[in-house]
């Protein structure tokens, strides 16, 4: 079972979380072209190794997190809030 160390709640089972998706996508502006949106929505790299992905602590604090996880071993290298302001709060509380 993957265990994710939520910066707010502590280490919890992955069953408390919902998987989001690729955390490295820069979504285009709303008025961007169909082509740019197609790239952002449908094209994904199939990474073997560590990747950044979003997880939602849906049965916990409801924070969206960036999780650095290995697709081979499920090892998790880092977990931080998606929102930059929440990231700062976490940094300051360390």
């Amino acid at each position: 079972m993957i265990r994710i160390n939520c910066p707010y709640c502590g280490e919890r089972d992955h069953s408390e979380f919902s998987y989001g998706g690729d955390a490295t996508i820069n979504y285009p502006s709303l008025d961007a072209s169909e082509k740019e949106w197609t790239e952002a929505i449908f094209f994904r790299k199939n990474i073997k190794g560590f990747q950044f992905e979003t997880w939602h602590h849906s049965n916990g604090c409801r924070m969206w997190l960036v999780v650095e996880r290995s697709t081979v071993t499920h090892e998790i290298k880092s977990v931080k809030p998606c929102h930059p302001n929440l990231q700062k709060v976490v940094e300051n509380n360390k």
Binding site: R3, G20, S29, T38, H56, P84
Partner: protein, 985 residues
């Protein structure tokens, strides 16, 4: 019948006699016995019949590797098949019976299969029934399906009870620094070392007692170890099997809580499924002794050497009188000596010629001899042996028991669950665990250590490794080298029988013989994984714990390769079988999933509501009056709403508070229609799209104040919409100052609909002016009070197409609100209406719900193009006209009438052109209802090209599931009051 029990042996409690039944006859055993030891003590040799050939089978082992003594325990609703007699503890009143035999294991009519062996070779079923020429063009499957039920009946083992399981099971969780699996010398040493270093330790043992293989030693005192462990604060879990290792040092365990008790307390679960999250795992799971393949090596009376030692020293049962031991390694000699001291006549046949071993010379050792055939069928009469180099030139040894030791296989299963492949060790003829990058350390004989002192040293080294990996210490350590016997093992997996077709078993439980492995090779199934599936080698209860290596060695020989080149199959959880009951725990029946009810749930029931489950929610379905059917009731309710007034519980809708200075901007981005100009005190219906332009959900948002909105979503999509809004705010639009909070549970809501709804509401509010047409126009919102000083929110919103209001109060006031509204609605001959009437009303109006918005529909498909703003960009706006979404033969929302208005149709009906009734047709009906207003059945759904294309065409509705067909025509989805005059009234 003479007992095989010895007076001066064993650690059973002879003061406590237990009676049990075997195949309906009564026997006696002692506290501390297993079913297997009690059967052996009572001289019962045949305990089962084999899977394919129905050969008589006895007890092969004393543990989890058992593949012969699989029996059925209990009866009626507690009948539990395929239980290993070797691990089933005896209790008073235990009922056990043999399986796979008729009428019983001693005389089994299907034993004829033994003589039809050639028809039951590897792959027989598949070859015969998956396609027999000339029928193989797809017809084989049909033949297989015809024969399958007969074959399954002939080939099955025990059968499970068909009655509901009367026992309860539970899930439990725990945490620790270190979990140690196995309480042999290595595991105990590791646990003690860790506890002394202040780690929080759990020690797990599948047996009822701690000690591991030491339980087979004649002078072993288990209580002393137990006390020592407990005094150190170690949590000991006996009768608990660590069946699987998972990511992040999570261990899955099965605790058998009452399987050893005759009349367990009904308040105690039968089994517990544990999830333990540790920081480090030490596995000292031991090693399993292998047998040797040779002709008739399955006759009752064949057993592993170590098993006979267990039966002698732990249970006081001498398993044979004239015992032949066949081996290739040093591990048997201590047992041979003990057996002969206990009174057996023992001969050891050792395949090795050059070795030295110290014994008390109480038994004969024949160097260089191997067994090649057992004579006997239901019991052993004699053993044919030969000099290794001159195979099958025989001598015969008279004996009643043959003990086998073909070497030991470390139990690497748990590590294998983590994807760590074991490595073949030539000098010890076994697979050894490789190192794991995860915090898992193997100790004891599961890392190939054969003597106790090495095992203890490895346990301490294992804990040092754990402490180092956890960053607690930085101490050098080393593990003893694998091995530990004085003389090297000589690989011996099979002794070939040249005389005739042989029955030389590799895997006892599935009757896989050496010939089957060779046949698989001839037919090209040479990969280990194919071999396994083709012959079923290593499948079923024992998962090849004894036979896998023999199968591998045979394949290696056939391929002219070494065992490691052939590979090993990957072990997967569970290590031993886990009952479905334990997996489901308490998540059964009504507890399978949570139940959500609205705050007026009881009020609804008290007022006659029949409930229906919608997702997790219980919602009022209809409110029948005396003798009314569902359809009588909803037709009356819907008509009443159109005529006077009705009240409906809509609390299950999702409700989200949206607050902050950028709330308007936020809503303007997520809804397809404009929200930036919505005034305070007004609500708006809105549609949300997904990024890819498909409709996600619809609902309303009410502007309560400059920076505050109240959003409602559909019942089904409430959680998804909430997560979506949070995702947008936390990941994409992090500069927007908006906060979203789910308030679904905090507000109770009703819809009050119908021409008299304003009058009813008027009587219920404190200030009657607030709901006048001027003060609360269509889509107006007000925060006010119901009588009795109850704060509420009211919006003039209509789903039914009538003049209607949604009223929300804090959940605590739900019943008071219902009482108040209902008392006043009754004055106008109003009604309570449920989901069925709500559906009828909305279908008449062409309003879409989840039945239509199924994740494939665009805003244009749903006929809601006017809801897509052209003046702004929003989520999904770039993509909603992409590619196929702009095709002009998209399925568009329409209404349906039956051509003959007396006919009915059902949701799911496929809409076809008149002379082309096939496939997916040109559309589908998604919702249907009887329309009280129109007086006939109507439907909503989709057709390619929409209303414009099919307006005056006679179409056909095909309903193959119900074997029904009807003529129908396409109409506008707005089937009544298309201009909305009633809503605006």
């Amino acid at each position: 019948m003479k007992t095989r029990r010895l007076d001066n042996y064993g650690k059973i409690n002879r003061d406590k006699i237990l009676s049990f039944s075997w195949d309906k006859k009564n026997y006696k055993g002692f506290e501390g016995d297993t079913l297997a030891s009690a059967l052996l003590a009572n001289n019962i040799g045949i305990v089962g019949r084999s899977f394919k050939y129905h050969r008589p089978r006895g007890i092969f082992s004393s543990g989890v590797e058992e593949s012969g003594a699989l029996v059925t325990i209990g009866s009626k609703d507690r009948r539990d098949p395929n239980v290993r007699a070797t691990t089933q503890e005896l209790y008073n009143g235990l009922e056990a019976s043999g399986q796979n035999a008729f009428p019983n294991v001693n005389f089994d009519l299907a034993g004829i299969n033994n003589y039809l062996g050639r028809f039951f070779a590897a792959g027989f079923y598949y070859k015969t029934f998956m396609g027999i020429p000339p029928l193989e063009w797809g017809k084989g499957t049909a033949i297989w399906m015809f024969f399958e039920k007969f074959i399954r009946k002939a080939a099955g083992m025990g059968s499970a009870s068909r009655l509901p399981d009367p026992d309860t099971y539970e899930h439990a969780h725990d945490f620790c620094d270190l979990i140690v699996v196995g309480s042999g010398p290595a595991g105990v040493a590791a646990a003690i070392e860790a506890a002394e270093k202040k780690l929080d330790v759990i020690l797990v043992e599948q047996d009822s007692l701690v000690g591991g293989d030491q339980l087979a030693e004649n002078n072993f005192d288990n209580s002393q170890i137990k006390n020592q462990l407990e005094n150190l604060g170690i949590k000991i879990m006996t009768r608990t099997t660590a069946f699987g290792l998972y990511d992040n040092c999570v261990v899955g365990l099965l605790e058998r809580v009452t399987d050893h008790i005759s009349a367990p307390n009904v308040n105690i679960p039968r089994q517990r499924f544990w999830t333990i999250r540790a920081k480090h795992i030490i596995v000292g799971a031991g090693a399993i002794e292998r047998h040797i393949a040779f002709n008739n090596n399955d006759i009752p009376g064949v057993m592993t050497v170590n098993a006979s030692k267990h039966y002698l020293n732990r249970y006081g049962v001498l398993t044979g009188k004239r015992i032949a031991i066949a081996t290739n390694n040093d591990s048997v000699y201590e047992t041979a000596q003990q057996l002969s001291e206990a009174g057996a006549n023992v001969t050891v046949l050792d395949s090795r010629t050059n070795f030295e071993i110290e014994t008390n010379k109480s038994f004969e050792i024949r160097k260089g001899y191997v067994p090649y055939n057992i004579n006997g069928s239901k019991k052993i009469h004699s053993l044919d042996v030969s000099k290794s180099e001159d195979i099958n030139k025989s001598e015969t040894i008279n004996c009643d028991q043959v003990l086998l030791s073909g070497g030991w296989s470390p139990a690497v299963h748990l590590l294998s669950h983590r994807g760590v492949r074991p490595k073949w060790d030539y000098s010890n003829a076994c697979f050894l665990p490789s190192d794991s990058k995860e915090n898992i350390t193997m100790v004891g004989s599961s890392r190939g250590l054969w003597n106790k002192n090495d095992c203890i040293a490895s346990g301490i080294a294992g804990t040092t490794d754990a402490l180092n990996r956890l960053g607690i210490s930085k101490t050098n350590y080393f593990f003893p080298k694998p091995g530990g016997w004085k003389n090297p093992i000589q690989p011996l997996y099979e002794v070939k029988y040249k005389k005739s077709r042989s029955k030389s078993f590799v895997d006892y439980q599935h009757d896989v013989t050496t010939d089957d492995v060779r046949l698989a090779h001839r037919e090209g199934f040479i990969s280990v994984e194919h071999l396994k599936r083709y012959t079923t080698l290593g499948m079923a209860n024992d998962q090849g714990k004894m036979g896998n290596i023999i199968g591998l060695s045979l394949m290696a020989e056939l391929l002219n390769k070494e065992i490691p080149e052939v590979g090993t199959t990957v072990f997967r959880p569970p290590y031993t079988p886990v009952s479905i009951g334990a997996l489901s725990g308490r998540n059964v029946g009504k507890h399978f999933r949570p139940l959500r009810v609205t705050p007026m749930h009881q009020w609804n029931i008290d007022h006659g509501a029949k409930m229906i489950e919608v997702g997790l929610y219980q919602r009022p379905w209809y409110y029948p009056k005396e003798n009314e059917t569902l359809s009588d009731s909803y037709i009356r309710e819907a008509s009443t709403v159109r005529k006077t007034v009705g009240i409906c519980d809509i609390t299950s809708l999702g409700k989200i508070a949206i607050q902050g200075p950028d709330s308007s901007e936020f809503l303007n981005r997520i809804y397809s229609n404009g929200f930036s100009k919505l005034q305070v005190g007004k609500a708006r219906y809105g549609i949300m799209l997904r990024d890819d332009g498909i409709v996600m959900d619809d609902g309303t948002s009410w502007r309560l104040a400059e920076n505050e909105y109240f959003m409602t979503t559909s019942t089904g999509e409430a959680a998804k919409v909430m997560s979506w809004l949070e995702e947008l705010l936390q990941t994409r639009w992090t500069n927007l100052n908006v906060n979203v909070t789910s308030v679904s549970e905090q507000w109770a809501g009703v819809s009050i609909a119908g021409p008299k709804s304003r009058e009813v509401l008027n009587n219920c509010v404190d200030d009657s002016l607030v709901v006048t047409n001027n003060n609360l126009p269509f889509m107006g919102v007000t925060s006010t009070f119901l009588k009795g000083n109850i704060p509420c929110r009211i919006a003039r919103i209509s789903f039914s197409g009538e003049l209607a209001f949604e009223v929300y109060v804090k959940s605590d006031f739900a019943n008071t609100m219902m009482d108040l509204l209902w008392e006043n609605a009754k004055k106008y001959d109003g009604c309570l209406y449920g989901l069925e009437a709500l559906g009828a009303l909305r279908v008449e109006k062409g309003h879409v719900t989840a039945a239509e918005l199924d994740g494939r529909v665009t805003i244009d498909d749903a006929g809601l193009s006017k809801m897509a703003s052209t003046k702004k960009s929003y989520i999904g706006s770039a993509m909603r006209k992409r590619g196929v979404l702009k095709n002009n033969d998209r399925e568009i929302l329409v209404g349906f009438f039956p051509t003959n208005l007396k006919e009915t149709f059902n949701a799911g009906t496929i809409v076809c052109e008149k002379n082309n009734i096939k496939g997916q047709g040109i559309g589908r009906i998604t919702s249907v209802t009887y329309s009280p207003e129109l007086g006939h059945w109507i439907g909503l759904g989709f057709v390619k090209g929409g209303l414009d294309k099919w307006k005056d065409t006679n179409l056909v509705g095909a309903d193959p599931v119900r074997n029904k067909q009807m003529n129908l025509k396409v109409v506008s989805p707005h089937m009544i009051d298309p201009n909305g005059e009633r809503m605006y009234a």
